[in-house]
């Protein structure tokens, strides 16, 4: 716990030129509340407190996250429990329109599922897939980037060519490819594999930018004297990469990851919309949009618009948070 907190505490949040000018307090014992308090008082924390965009975006993202995490308890209905569905409730408009009922706040879809609840469950899938694929991308991308930047030579050349190759495939195409292959190999296990395939395809195209960024930063850090000092002491290269270089290159990765979550969610939605993403039994926002699309022109707009709006809201708030983070971490822009 001590080591990890120290890593977090020292990971760039409190070290900027102007704060050096005014001095800062040494970290005390690693305690979560103390850490949060100290963070709020730091330059980044202050930047957060004074940026209305960041606060609103964070609030919205937190609400969505909360709904998604606690959907089974927060949602008014369980839209995927077939026993509770009644076809008589199908295609009801939102509560404030004519014909709507307060029981189904945002209306129902063609099978009588409550849209609001479906949104929460769908957001759950979308966020889970988005976060999982970003985490995997970061792990793979950072590892490759560190290796390429630190070892150089043919390892670097090979990995960079791999990046170039990966970049020339659009994410959708890769996903379709893998989905097709998956379906051909495991025709029966489609549903359970669907998520694996989905996350894999988004990961495969997402890791490249982390690798590139980290490679660049690693090459810069590798030539710095503290790395040379570690080499003179005799520390093994792998250890230097992990303990010295990694904490110093994670800054830009955090920013990228935050923005990438939004991209991943949208990519997942697109794939689900195309039918190669989340299975219909546990639909994500994209699936809901697809399902509702057919009813758009028959006047039942709420079935597709609300999932769409939710998607936009999540993506927008995460994007705004990422933008704020990038500006806050850039000392020159103050």
């Amino acid at each position: 716990m001590a080591r990890r907190s120290r890593f977090l505490a020292g990971s760039g949040w409190a070290s900027f030129p102007l704060s050096r000018l005014v001095g800062s307090h040494p970290s005390k014992a690693p305690h979560l509340i103390a850490f949060v308090r100290r963070w709020l008082d730091s330059d980044v924390g202050h930047s957060f407190r004074t940026s209305p965009t960041a606060i609103v975006a964070a609030a919205i993202a937190l609400v969505c996250l909360f709904c998604a995490l606690f959907a089974p308890w927060v949602a008014p209905h369980n839209p995927f429990d077939l026993a509770t569905l009644e076809l008589s409730n199908a295609r009801l408009p939102p509560a404030w329109s004519e014909g709507g009922v307060s029981q189904f706040l945002l209306g129902t879809d063609d099978q009588g599922r409550d849209i609001l609840s479906a949104l929460m469950y769908g957001a759950r899938i979308s966020l889970a897939v988005g976060l999982a694929s970003v985490v995997l991308s970061v792990v793979i991308g950072v590892a490759f980037g560190l290796l390429a930047g630190f070892l150089g030579g043919w390892v670097d050349a090979f990995l960079m060519r791999l990046c170039d190759v990966m970049l020339s495939f659009p994410a959708i195409l890769v996903a379709l490819l893998i989905a097709g292959v998956g379906r051909a190999l495991f025709p029966d296990a489609h549903d359970s594999l669907a998520f694996g395939v989905l996350i894999l395809s988004i990961t495969l195209t997402g890791w490249v930018q982390y690798a590139r960024t980290v490679r660049g930063s690693t090459m810069v850090e590798r030539n710095k004297e503290y790395v040379q000092a570690a080499r003179v002491t005799g520390v093994a290269p792998l250890r230097i990469m992990r303990r010295h270089v990694l904490p110093n290159v994670m800054g830009p990765v955090m920013v990228l990851a935050t923005i990438q979550v939004a991209t991943a969610i949208i990519t997942e939605a697109t794939l689900s919309f195309l039918g190669v993403g989340a299975p219909p039994t546990s639909p994500s926002l994209g699936t809901l949009i697809r399902v509702g699309n057919d009813y758009l022109f028959s006047g039942e707009w709420w079935i597709t618009i609300f999932p769409g709006a939710m998607l936009v809201l999540i993506a927008l708030s995460v994007n705004l948070l990422g933008d704020w983070l990038r500006d806050a971490l850039n000392p020159r822009l103050r």
Partner: protein, 329 residues
Amino acid sequence: MSLLQVKNLVVEFRHRRGTLRALDDISFDIAPGEILGVVGESGAGKSLTGASIIGLLEPPGRVASGEILLEGRRIDNLPFDEMRKVRGRQIGAIFQDPLTSLNPLYSVGRQLIETITTHLPVNQAEARQRAIQLLRDTGIPAAEQRIDHFSHQFSGGMRQRVVIALALAAEPQLIVADEPTTALDVSIQAQIITLLKNICKERGAAVMLITHDMGVIAETCDRVAVMYAGRIAEIGPVHEVINHPAHPYTAGLMACIPDMSVDRERLHQIDGAMPRLNAIPAGCAYNPRCDRVLDRCHDERPDLMPAGVTRAACWLHAPAVARGEEVSQ
């Protein structure tokens, strides 16, 4: 009449934790054709002084009060366009890194000609001739060919000569040189400071030479101002200040510098460090580190007062002390 007059200049940085005073009531003059050295350690504020005069103070830094007068006319409060005209025509600037001072995409000649034609009423052909002559004067061989070369085709010392030529192109009256030789090798440094001194004397341009290197100051300047914690500690003719320093900080500084002519077992060291901007002591900024501190030094900040030939901001030179009436600690 002085060419440049700085009167009670105060430069502040507004930060969310408070306002920092980077320059605290600086006053000095530069006479026409004179070379004034501004020396001090990092954080003393010498580069900021230069930047304020050229008008290139980066926000959140701003001139909070005081005046900067060039030939009797205020330049610290000019609108951007007016200052731009002054900046090339009357004040030239030389910075530390010659690589970034020149635009790598344009030939050297183009930059020179552009500067000349912007500020002086000459046509292109005449400007080109002047540019070639400038390059010759700064010691660049084969100037007629090299005028069309790009900055990467020059070596470090040559580039700095081009920068000097560029600074002098519009025939300014004042050159502000901020650490012009710090990034150069010792042998090149010697050539550049000789060049700067001679060419400015020839053209009657005054120079404000900002550096941390006392040796460069000793060889080039007529007068020198020693800065400490955003204030001027001592100002006077260069050999007086170096050989008979009147301020304890200047004396300590001179003693710290390893000298080629004397062998010492231990270098004299001034204990402590220059105070941070948010922790400048009351009274004289140097009082915690001073070995000749008086009671007065803790409470009252001394202004520059006469101390022999120089002027020093030190209570040791207040008339009562000099007359031996006050008892030192």
